[in-house]
Structure formats: structure tokens, C-alpha cells
């Protein structure tokens, strides 16, 4: 079974600064997907960024980027130029590549507070 671990329950950052959230996972699979989801206080979970394990290039989405280290099974998220709207819970998630199901396994989450 796959497991996902987020070791930082809470982090705070000043507006305009950079924060990095860590995520490690355990799997025996070679091909899979990794995701970072954001859940703001409104509770609507939205996808921030996605990484395919077979791609060596780290995914980037505007101010969000990842550092994917496949051998170390590490998948950290960097938020640059933090904005007040980035305040949210962030969840790291893992998914195997399957024909049916595509279940996600989530980490415990990291609460990020952006301070003005």
C-alpha cells in the first residue's frame, strides 16, 4: 500500500516571501502521478499542480513549482511571492496509473498562513 507523509502540520510566511512544503511517499510502483491540492477556508479543494513520475522535468504552474526527487521519493511544493489568497490547507497526493479507479492517497496536510 502507498503512504504519503507531510511532516509540517503548519507553516507561516510573510506576504511576498517564499515557502516550501515537504512531502514524502512510499511506493513500489515505477509509474504514478503526484499532486498538490489546495483547500482554502471555503473548503473547495482545487488542484494546484501535477507531476507524472516518468517526467524528469519539475512541474511549474505560475508561482507554484515542485521539486520531484524520484529516487528519494520526495515531492516538495514551493510557493513563490506568497499572497494572502494562498492561505489554505495543502495536501500532497499520490495516484497509481490504472485503467479504472485512479484512487488518490493523501498526506495529512500542511496548513499555510500567509501574513500581511
Amino acid at each position: 500500500a502507498q503512504t504519503v507523509t507531510q511532516s509540517q502540520p503548519e507553516m507561516s510566511v510573510q506576504e511576498a516571501e517564499t515557502v516550501t512544503l515537504s512531502c514524502t511517499y512510499d511506493t513500489s510502483e515505477n509509474n504514478y502521478y503526484l499532486f498538490w491540492y489546495k483547500q482554502p477556508p471555503s473548503r473547495q479543494m482545487i488542484l494546484v499542480i501535477r507531476q507524472e513520475a516518468y517526467k524528469q522535468q519539475n512541474a511549474t504552474e505560475n508561482r507554484f513549482s515542485v521539486n520531484f526527487q524520484k529516487a528519494a521519493k520526495s515531492f516538495s511544493l514551493k510557493i513563490s511571492d506568497s499572497q494572502l489568497g494562498d492561505t489554505a490547507m495543502y495536501f500532497c497526493a499520490f495516484s497509481m496509473i490504472k485503467a479504472a479507479g485512479n484512487k488518490l492517497t493523501f498526506g495529512g496536510g500542511t496548513r499555510v498562513l500567509v501574513k500581511p
Binding site: Y37, M45, F91, A100, K103, G107
Partner: protein, 112 residues
């Protein structure tokens, strides 16, 4: 835009009641999921469905059942609610060929 809706944002029930949580998606997704979210535990999969009338147990199915009679609708049923089922319940859906899941706004269920 993909839309996943859930029947209630907040729900209060009594121990022993039968509870129905309903989820509807409008993007013709094959897969639908029910998760439970608790502080420090993240989201844990209760059940999922990859086709009409098809269902599979997730990691924590005990005390829950599901129904999927139509492709767009996936119901979570608590046959006899208990206080330890007080939680946030999130529904999600996805296409088979694309692993991104789209989430509903969640239902915060309190069982007294």
C-alpha cells in the same frame, strides 16, 4: 467548468439515524469517490465507483455503503449513524484516462 455538487453543506443527525449524502457531477466522469476528512489524517477513501452500479471499497468502508444508479450521481449511505462518523465528507469525480479529481464543496456531518 467542471461542477461537483453535494446535497448539503452542513448536516446534523442523531445516533442510529440512516443518513444519505448525495453527490452529482456534470462532466460525464466515469469515476466517482467519497472521502472522509479529519484533522491530521488528511482525506481517506471510503468507497469509489468506476461505472454505474460498480463500486469498490476504499480504505475505511466500515459503517458505510454507496449507491450509483446513474452515471452522474453517487450516494453515500450511513446505515446507522454513530458519533465517530462525525466528520467532513468530500465527493470527487474524474475521467478514467486522467487522474485529476474534481471535488465538491464538502458536507460537514455532525452525529449527536
Amino acid at each position: 467548468d467542471v461542477k461537483v455538487t453535494q446535497s448539503s453543506r452542513y448536516l446534523v443527525k442523531r445516533t442510529g439515524e440512516k443518513v444519505f449524502l448525495e453527490c452529482v457531477q456534470d462532466m460525464d466522469h466515469e469515476n466517482m469517490f467519497w472521502y472522509r476528512q479529519d484533522p491530521g489524517l488528511g482525506l481517506r477513501l471510503i468507497y469509489f465507483s468506476y461505472d454505474v452500479k460498480m463500486k469498490e471499497k476504499g480504505d475505511i468502508p466500515e459503517g458505510y455503503s454507496v449507491s450509483r444508479e446513474k452515471k452522474e450521481r453517487f450516494s453515500l449511505i450511513l446505515e446507522s449513524a454513530s458519533t465517530n462518523q462525525t466528520s467532513m465528507y468530500l465527493c470527487a469525480s474524474s475521467w478514467v484516462a486522467y487522474n485529476e479529481q474534481f471535488f465538491g464543496p464538502g458536507t460537514r456531518l455532525t452525529v449527536l
